[in-house]
């Protein structure tokens, strides 16, 4: 950061400032609409987009950016994912009084902030589960993420991915099997380190 003036022979803030402006102008409408669809709320969409622009713009003041559009998307995607997860937790807590979702809500809180001890035990398995999901074929991974984290039904996912509903179920089963395989290969066979079930571990 402090090194920007350090004789690179270019003035990134000017050049990249222009590039950032152009990239924002080119993508603003699409990005805001996409966000509005995600959150069903234009205010939130604008807030997130603005916040992403601001971050990228600040970054561009000191760093060279090869692909401004990609960085804007990445930043907006991160902010949107955070907001999405936060809302999901709130929603589960406040709105759904049914027993099954209350249980989910508790799991949500628990898995969002597990005890340090649970974290240590589960870290290796968590890393393995991430690898398992990431190494799934493209469509299976997207189906899993859309189902699990975007709360889409299989029908909705089928529309997004352009495949049949029954394929989605196959993808999800593949994802679940990959998770089991990963858990087994870490050696610590699915020994139910249920993050939400801390009472088992004390």
């Amino acid at each position: 950061m402090a090194d920007v003036e350090g004789g690179k022979g270019e003035i990134p803030s000017c050049a990249d400032g222009g590039a950032v402006d152009r990239a924002i102008r080119r993508n603003d409408r699409m990005l805001v609409r996409w966000l509005a669809r995600k959150f069903g709320d234009i205010e939130t969409a604008r807030d997130i987009a603005q916040s992403a622009y601001l971050r990228v713009w600040r970054y561009a003041q000191t760093q060279h950016i090869d692909n401004v559009q990609a960085l804007i998307f990445k930043t907006a995607a991160n902010l949107a994912a955070n907001e999405f997860r936060a809302r999901k937790r709130m929603q589960l807590l406040k709105l759904d009084p049914s027993a099954s979702t209350r249980e989910n809500a508790i799991e949500q809180i628990a898995s969002a902030s597990p005890s340090p001890e649970a974290t240590a035990v589960a870290r290796e398995e968590i890393a393995a589960s991430l690898r398992a999901i990431q190494s799934l074929p493209d469509l299976a991974r997207r189906a899993f993420v859309l189902s699990r984290f975007e709360d889409k039904t299989y029908r909705e996912i089928a529309v997004i991915l352009g495949v049949s509903e029954s394929s989605i179920e196959k993808y999800i089963i593949a994802a679940l099997k990959a998770l089991r395989k990963a858990a087994e290969e870490t050696g610590r066979t699915p020994k139910i380190v249920h993050l939400s079930n801390r009472r088992n571990r004390q």
Partner: protein, 332 residues
């Protein structure tokens, strides 16, 4: 101790069943019968319960990465969307000879406009639920409905408007020397002086003529001549439906802030109303979509619309942060 073999495929039928049931549970479409079968399976043996609980634990652990995985998915969706738009623009350029693609023209005109005539290319846009009236230099007027965007490019020989999305009503001042042309992705609409509306929703363009004569050239097929009271739809593939008649009191209701329906399916009514609302209304139950609606709604007032629908059909509404769900009352 549970010593599981790593080879899952050869695997324990309890694990396979557990994956199947978990996949059903995540589908969001498990019915009462299935749920019963699932509970039956669970209660059948400790092994089943163990296998299912293990899967839940594994999903929990994957949840720890939910933010990252979701961010990666979002990034992917955004990149796809941007690519789709860029492709759209590019493919349009080759079609310019046929004078069709709004997006292409915008792209091309922008390039020249930036260098030469920045004041000649003007964009107008409305947000969700908004309405705008635009007076053009030639005396023509454009009314923009919700979530719509046009680009206006006038020169000495032509008056050109690109409807990039949404819906617009045009009241065109006659100028024989300069035809007035509205372009969408799938059609070109040419007039000299008249009033009509064009909407483009889901890549489909509809033209409704209120007065005068309008020529519509779809991307594919024959040019059609529409008179007052005529309508035509141009589908996403560029083919057009036959010219039909329509009821202006329904079609143009938005110009006075209303949405009117005559014996319309509730599913379509909700879809129409949602064009105006930040927080969409959803039907909790597919069977509701076929209920017939006749009536008038204020498109600036979602609450009253929801109230009216719940009263007419004896429904309940439940507000969530991102949607409002209408459903039949649960029998207590």
């Amino acid at each position: 101790m549970n010593q599981r073999l790593p080879d899952d495929d050869a695997g324990d039928p309890a694990n396979d069943d557990a994956a199947h049931w978990m996949a059903r549970k995540l589908s969001g479409s498990m019915n009462a019968e299935e749920r019963k079968a699932f509970e039956g399976w669970l209660s059948l043996s400790d092994d089943h319960r163990r296998a299912f609980a293990e899967l839940e634990g594994m999903l929990d652990r994957a949840d720890a990465h939910g933010g990252d995985l979701l961010a990666a998915e979002f990034e992917r969706q955004l990149t796809d969307e941007a690519e789709r738009q860029a492709r759209h623009r590019r493919s349009g350029v080759s079609r310019i000879a046929a004078a069709i693609s709004a997006a292409a023209l915008v792209a091309v005109i922008s390039i020249f406009a930036v260098n030469q005539q920045p004041d000649r290319l003007i964009a107008h846009e409305t947000e969700i639920g908004a309405f705008d009236r635009i007076a053009l230099d030639d005396g023509s007027e454009i009314e923009l409905n919700t979530a719509s965007r046009i680009t206006v490019a006038f020169d000495d020989n032509s008056r050109s408007v690109n409807l990039e999305g949404g819906e617009a009503f045009f009241n065109v001042e006659t100028d024989r020397a300069r035809p007035f042309i509205v372009k969408t992705d799938v059609a070109e609409i040419a007039v000299t002086g008249t009033s009509f509306s064009v909407s483009t929703v889901h890549d489909r363009s509809s033209v409704h003529v209120l007065t005068g004569v309008v020529e519509v050239t779809p991307l594919k097929g024959q040019q059609a001549t529409l008179l007052a009271g005529d309508t035509i739809d141009v589908k996403a593939d560029g083919s057009a439906t036959p010219v039909a008649r329509y009821d202006p009191s329904l079609i143009f209701a938005w110009r006075s802030g209303k949405a009117r329906f005559h014996d319309e399916r509730l599913g379509n009514v909700v879809a129409s109303l949602n064009r105006y609302f930040d927080t969409p209304i959803e039907l909790g139950d597919d069977s509701l979509a076929d209920l017939p609606v006749t009536g008038e709604f204020d498109i600036r007032d979602r609450e009253t619309a929801v109230k009216a629908l719940t009263l007419i059909f004896d429904l309940e509404s439940r507000e969530e942060p991102a949607r409002i769900i209408l459903s039949r009352p649960q029998p207590q």
